[in-house]
């Protein structure tokens, strides 16, 4: 081993070029620094691989993915005449593309390359060096056996539909839609609610700059509504998604508003005259009322109201028609029906957001039982000038101004009984609340009960110091309970916070008038159904899974489906906006290429063997198989086929084969993996 030669080589100069079927395989075993080499005896694996049939050269190298490692492969292809390459390293998700490109640069068809994942499936999964080495050999053997049977394939090129679907009209979705529209691409923005704006529209002020949420949000909402490149579909839901990246067909239900949008001027007379008043559980989070024909808020976009049929007197009892009578433009239409619309798009950005944790699930904090316990979103509505109390901070009776207010952090977050994660935004929102109380009720005392103050963000810590200097009390400790059970005269008629103050090491009981629970964020109740609809993954908590937590945060494992904002995990406004822009940039970048290279991994039906049973027709999740009635045979449409292999496995006549995953390739790989498997021993049990 000379010092100049960084890689060791087992090269048999006498190997005949025609060994086996004439395939000349090069095997490359990667150390991945210590990641693989610490557990797998990589030199031994390489040496052993060099002795296998068809293998012309086998090397091990510190980092195969480095440019030196790739050059090594390229050189060998050209100098040794390799026509198959096997790299034993990490997951194909990481570097299959890298090595395929290396092969291509050296003139080898990239589909004659095979990867053995000895890191995630070997060295990372065990500490047992011997077993890991043995498994690595089996994986390499399997890869070699498969590689020698591989066929050169040519990629397919498809056009990318330049339209994009954005699902969710909160701040993340609005941002993504505007970015793409401004770049000249058409966007369909689908929103389930009657107005866009999302959670942000409910807020009064935004931390840490305290600018008015509506003042910075509503211009964006208006831009979206007026943008020539955006088709805004509110009060609409996605029903189904078919196709693949570049060519999705999305079916959307536009729910009936019972308002003719072309006639409605948004004057609001119908809302004013509607005699039905019910508690608004959606926008006012139960703290305020709305009518049966309603708009979420005065600046709602679009301006048209909707009729809530479940509470409308006309829909329930067949009479009333007050709105129809007062409407100056005859825009009320009780006969409107839901509409189904099909959209053709190339990419989909999901920005479906979060739900607030239900504070009723923490019964010891008394929400729902003790009237003056509020959730953070209720308080947001309360301090909002357009909210139910017009911005006055009052108790549940609507009149009394509280003198002592407790803000309890981490309700449902950082708690193994509910959600272990931190919801990120609530500490800063709690600080903002403390500030707003000081501003609106200067004589009130505010107590913040926290575990840690998480103020990591631009100007966040400064805002924390500002609130500290305003005289807010900060008590470090998780609140044990909120109770109205007074122990003595000092506590009568108040809510008592029972807490261990961990900074002074004492139990304290602090009587207050009002309690605000900083309820955390959780994934939407239907997040898993939505994920299944769009074919992406969810983590344990129901957040959508990104391709890579650090390096690919807005792309999912499903090509063409992107995520932005709090549907991917708890986020405040700045991060949601950043993700919305990032997702838009990714989509724009892809559409800039106009055509897209697609894997040639496709199923193909041998018409001579097809019995016409049509099992595959219904099985195909992409509707890619068509049936020829005249000839009674099925045929795969290559442009639609995704290469999932479901039909290949299901075909009773073995008439379907999957390119790059043919029967003989897969069986040979299995044979290779089982190279050292012994014949099972037959055990004779002694009769007892």
């Amino acid at each position: 081993m000379s010092a100049e030669n960084p890689h060791r080589t087992r090269h048999d100069p006498h190997a005949t070029p025609d060994a086996g079927h004439g395939e000349r395989v090069g095997v490359y075993v990667c150390h991945c620094g210590h990641n693989i080499a610490n557990t797998v005896a990589v030199e031994e694996v390489a040496e052993w691989a060099g002795e296998q049939p068809n293998v012309v050269v086998a090397r091990d190298y510190k980092f195969m993915c480095s440019s030196l490692g790739q050059e090594l492969i390229e050189q060998d292809i050209q100098q040794l005449g390799l026509n198959r390459v096997v790299v034993a390293a990490c997951s194909p998700h990481m570097h299959e593309k890298t090595f395929r490109s290396a092969c291509q640069r050296a003139g080898l068809n990239p589909y004659l390359f095979e990867m053995a994942n000895i890191r995630e499936m070997g060295s990372w999964a065990t500490d047992d060096r011997e077993a890991a080495t043995q498994k690595a050999k089996a994986q390499v053997k399997g890869a070699v056996e498969r590689a020698v049977r591989q066929q050169p394939l040519e990629p397919l090129y498809v056009d990318i539909n330049p339209n994009t679907l954005v699902v969710g009209g909160g701040i993340a979705g609005l941002t993504a839609a505007l970015e793409l529209a401004n770049a000249g691409y058409h966007v369909y923005l689908v929103e389930r609610d009657s107005s866009i704006g999302g959670h942000m529209a409910k807020l009064d002020k935004t931390f840490p700059t305290l600018d008015c949420a509506a003042c910075i949000l509503t211009p964006k909402m208006v831009d979206v509504a007026n943008h020539p490149n955006i088709t805004l579909m509110t009060w609409s839901e996605v029903l189904s998604v078919h196709g693949y990246v570049g060519n999705f067909t999305v079916r959307v239900r536009k729910k009936a508003r019972y308002i003719k949008e072309d006639l409605c001027t948004g004057c609001g007379t119908c809302v004013e005259k509607c005699p039905v008043r019910i508690i608004d559980q959606n926008f006012e989070v139960g703290l305020g009322y709305r009518k049966a024909v309603y708009r979420n808020f005065p600046q709602a976009v679009p301006k048209y109201p909707v009729i809530d049929t479940a509470n409308c007197t006309f829909f329930q009892r067949g009479k009333c028609r007050a709105c129809e009578i007062v409407c100056p433009t005859d825009a009320i239409d009780f006969n409107q029906k839901d509409e189904i619309v099909d959209l053709e798009v190339g990419n989909i950005i999901l920005a479906t957001g979060y739900e607030q944790f239900d504070a009723r699930r923490v019964p010891q904090y008394g929400y729902g039982r003790l009237a003056n316990v509020f959730t953070s979103m209720e308080f947001e509505r309360m301090v909002n000038a357009a909210g139910p109390t017009a911005g006055r901070v009052v108790l549940r009776d609507g009149v009394t101004v509280p003198k002592r207010i407790a803000i309890i952090h981490c309700v449902g977050s950082r708690d193994k009984n509910y959600h272990e994660y931190c919801s990120r935004a609530c500490c800063m929102a709690a600080l903002k609340f403390a500030h707003l109380v000081h501003e609106r009720v200067p004589e009130a005392e505010v107590f913040n009960f926290y575990i840690d103050i998480r103020a990591s963000g631009k100007h966040y810590e400064e805002f924390y110091h500002r609130v500290l200097s305003e005289g807010t009390h900060f008590i470090r400790g998780r609140v044990a309970e909120v109770t109205d059970a007074a122990r003595g005269p000092g506590e009568e008629g108040q809510l008592i916070i029972q807490v261990e103050d961990t900074l002074i090491g004492k139990q304290r009981r602090i009587p207050v008038d009002m309690v605000i629970l900083m309820a955390g964020m959780e994934s939407r109740k239907d997040a898993r159904q939505v994920a299944a609809l769009f074919g992406l993954g969810c983590d344990y908590d129901g957040w959508f899974t990104e391709r890579h937590a650090k390096l690919d945060p807005v792309v999912t494992m499903t090509e063409g489906i992107l995520v932005a904002g709090a549907c991917q995990g708890p986020k405040a406004i700045p991060e949601s906006v950043a993700q919305g822009s990032a997702a838009a940039a990714r989509v724009a970048g892809m559409m800039g290429q106009r055509v897209m290279k697609r894997e040639p991994v496709r199923a193909c039906i041998d018409a001579a063997s097809c019995s016409g049973c049509r099992i595959c027709n219904t099985l195909c999740p992409y509707h890619a198989i068509t049936f020829h009635e005249d000839r009674k045979v099925s045929e795969v449409i290559p442009a639609l086929c995704q290469g999932c292999g479901a039909c290949v496995a299901a075909c009773p006549s073995a008439a379907i084969s999957g390119a790059h995953f043919t029967r003989d390739q897969v069986l040979a790989q299995i044979e290779g993996i089982l190279w050292d498997a012994r014949q099972p021993e037959v055990l004779w049990l002694e009769p007892q």
Partner: protein
Amino acid sequence: MRYGYYPGCSLERNAGAYHTSLMAVAAQLGVEFAEVDDWNCCGATEFIAVNRLRAYALVSRNLALAARQTNGSNGAAKGQLVAPCSACYLNLSKVEHYLSQSPALASGVNNALAAGGLSYEPGSVRVRHLLDVLVNDVGYEKVAARVRRPLHGLRVAPYYGCLVVRPGFQGRFDDPEYPTSLDRLMRTLGATVVDFPLKAHCCGGHMTQISRDVALELIRRLLKNAADYQADMIVTLCPMCQLNLDAFQESVNGLFGTEYRIPILFFTQLMGLAFGLSPAAVGIGKEFVDARPALAKIGAAAPAAAEAAPKRKPRRGDQSLPLPQMPEEEL
């Protein structure tokens, strides 16, 4: 339904009324309790702190006997052991849980049991609290069907104490912070259940013997809370809680200058009364604070159903904010 039954020492002495009433109620509901033959002390709350292995072995002996005697023959539910006393329930279920978790502990305990010719395989007995069996196995519907004299007009504070729902490991049948199964059972009987925020707080336990002032303060809080909510009585499911709140009520009044006269009854006593049994048949009269004045209110006031006011429509000029929507209570 037939269950193994572990009465524990309390039910033979101070909580005799609990035993009498639960047996009477069980007979009405078609539940049979077969007492574990030759059972011994559960170690109460103290012994585990004195010597762990001995305490585990002490409890395990009861589990071993129960496993042998509730083996599914003669119609008994296999391996189901019911303990009405919260301390017994906690000790039995806790030791069973620990033995299942730790093979080393199980073998140590089995070594000790071997001296008495016994052995215990972890997992073979499921320890249940009486309340769990009555509300989950028998069920509220069946209980409701037996009610002959609904407890209309009686305001009760349901008191769970600390042991029956905590620690919240597997097998616990209610929320460890804010249990509600007894509330619902009392509503099933027709009683009015008052909000009782201290329902899972400490009754002082054996502190009455060690640190009297601490215990009396804890008892005072509970009595005050029940009085603040105008409860006619406190209903318990634990002999310790019943004893402390009942027998030491006079001492609390003496120390704090209060005048509480709040009867403390076992929930099975109220079940029996609602089923139409006589007060004597459910052990009424054994309590220190006489329950009869409170029980005289049964039926005197309007039925609970009429109490629920119709949903208030917001009036003009009313600025009050709506209360959070709660899931509809079943009863």
